[in-house]
């Protein structure tokens, strides 16, 4: 283990997190990723509301939807629920 890791005496009991999970990239092991067809998308925001990870964000000032692939796990709920079928799940490629 790296020397930056704390000893058992230095950490809080009960495994209470001393860091925010924002710094823990949970989206790096997905197999599928959502790809949006901008022609079909009506920005109805269904995907924004239904993403269980909060990884799809709505920026009202730009009228823009943004996918955050650092946290998207590729579950496909957005593609399944999209009323205009604007989202397709594709195998993630580097």
């Amino acid at each position: 283990m790296s020397s930056k890791e704390k000893t058992w005496k230095e950490i809080s009991i009960g495994a209470v997190c001393s860091k925010s999970s924002v710094g823990f990239m949970t989206g790096d092991w997905k197999t599928y990723m959502p790809v949006r067809d901008l022609e079909k998308c009506t920005t109805c925001l269904t995907c924004v509301m239904l993403c269980p990870e909060g990884a799809i964000r709505w920026h009202p000032e730009m009228s823009k939807i943004e996918f955050d692939f650092s946290f998207c796990k590729g579950c496909g709920i957005c593609a399944n629920e999209c009323p205009t079928k604007a989202i397709k799940m594709k195998i993630e490629q580097e």
Binding site: W8, I13, G14, V16, C17, K19
Partner: protein, 410 residues
């Protein structure tokens, strides 16, 4: 020493004594599911709730797995939490027992010890809690209904100590203690309240960099029960071991502070020795059979046999030093096990005691008796055989067979 407070004597069985103690400790949440021979505990407690005698949130869950999970969740909000179970119920809790201790939730649970299936058996033995030896819970076993009452009050004080912060199970032998009526001296409510005190919370560092009391609270959010992989899991387990070490120091302190209030103490809280100082033959026992053994020891002493008893009261944390010191002068030792460790060369208590004595310069011969499984009665006549064999071993130094079955049809 201050005089103990005046106490009322009540006729209570072991289960009722446990429920009465939990009531006096002003428990905030009880989540439980009934199972014989523990049922009377939650039944009695639900009566206190229905009569408005307590302000406890009483949760009737659909299973023991849910009961202990609800207790865990309540406990991490800072609530004083209690439950009770036995046998299959405790086995169903198995997964969550580890989560409770790992989450450092000081839940107190009474276990009315009962055999595990199969074949189905509702009677008393210690198979259920012995199978949870490594679940990270503190294990205390009592000898009678009076001690069941006292141990529950002490358990909150020990579990909720900031340095300990671990759950405790208090084992009372099913039926032998759970359903047997005894005279139990009970402390006045305000004295219990004062003794147990308000629950204190350890301080933790949150993700916002704040040092806060360890408490699930929307006003001060923190993440509990997260993932810890190869990088941190090991460190958290080591912390639990430290909680156990702290409990080993605290239990004798609580035992003596309780003695000042109540006039009752149980050895040093870890081990309870009976006529052991000059004993040549010693028996180690856990739970209610210790009472019968004391009667036999009194008889043997009158016959000139130097016999003694070590009742192992706290099984986890294991009081290794105390065991060593108390048993080092014995010429022969028998360890009683009311459960089996199949294929394991004797029962769990035998393993622990034998293991504790390994570092002594000279090892007294030590044998194991598996007894009382499925509630089989262990009569004084049967138990006397143990001392007879020990006398032979002490005389000859020869152990024919280390593991025996007492009261089994061979």
């Amino acid at each position: 020493m201050a005089k103990p407070v005046k106490q009322d004597t009540m006729a209570l069985n072991g289960d009722e004594a446990v429920a009465y103690a939990a009531k006096q400790c002003e428990v905030d949440v009880v989540a439980a599911y009934p199972i014989t021979p523990q049922t009377i505990i939650v039944e009695k407690f639900s009566e206190y709730v229905a009569n408005g005698e307590v302000h406890t949130e009483f949760i009737c869950t659909e299973s023991e797995h849910s009961a202990i999970t609800a207790c865990l969740a309540a406990s991490v909000t800072g609530a004083r939490t209690f439950t009770a179970s036995a046998s299959a119920g405790l086995a169903l809790m198995h997964e969550m027992l580890f989560v409770t201790s790992g989450s450092r939730a000081p839940v107190v649970m009474a276990v009315a010890n009962r055999a595990l299936s199969s074949p189905l058996n509702i009677h008393g033995d210690q198979s259920d809690s012995m199978a949870e030896r490594d679940s990270g819970w503190i294990h205390i076993y009592v000898e009678n209904a009076q001690e069941a009452y006292d141990a529950i009050i002490q358990a909150f004080k020990i579990a909720e100590d900031v340095g300990v912060s671990l759950p405790i199970m208090v084992g009372l032998d099913g039926f032998t203690l759970s359903h047997s009526l005894e005279n139990v001296d009970v402390l006045p409510e305000d004295i219990v309240k004062q003794f147990v005190g308000e629950r204190q919370l350890p301080m933790v560092l949150t993700h916002e960099g704040k040092t806060m009391p360890f408490k699930l609270d929307p006003e001060n959010p923190m993440t509990m029960g997260p993932i810890a992989f190869q990088n941190y899991y090991f460190e958290f387990k080591r912390q639990q071991e430290e909680g156990m070490s702290n409990a080993l120091k605290l239990i004798p302190e609580v035992n003596s502070s309780y003695a000042k209030v109540s006039g009752r103490s149980y050895g040093n809280g870890l081990i309870d020795a009976y006529k052991l100082d000059d004993a040549e033959i010693a028996v180690v026992c856990v739970g209610s059979t210790s009472g019968t053994l004391k009667v036999i020891i009194d008889e043997l002493r009158q016959e000139g046999v130097k016999a003694g008893l070590l009742r192992l009261r706290t099984f986890r944390p294991l009081p290794v030093e105390e065991l060593r010191n108390a048993l080092k002068n014995a010429k022969a030792i028998a360890v009683m096990d009311k459960s089996m460790s199949f294929g394991g060369f004797g029962g769990a208590v035998f393993h622990e005691v034998r293991h504790s004595l390994y570092d002594l310069q000279t090892h007294p011969p030590i044998v194991n008796y598996i007894y009382g499984l499925g509630g089989r009665d262990s009569s004084p006549r049967e138990l006397r055989k143990v001392f007879e064999e020990l006398t032979n071993i002490a005389k000859t130094g020869h152990v024919e067979s280390p593991v025996h079955y007492l009261g089994l049809r061979e």
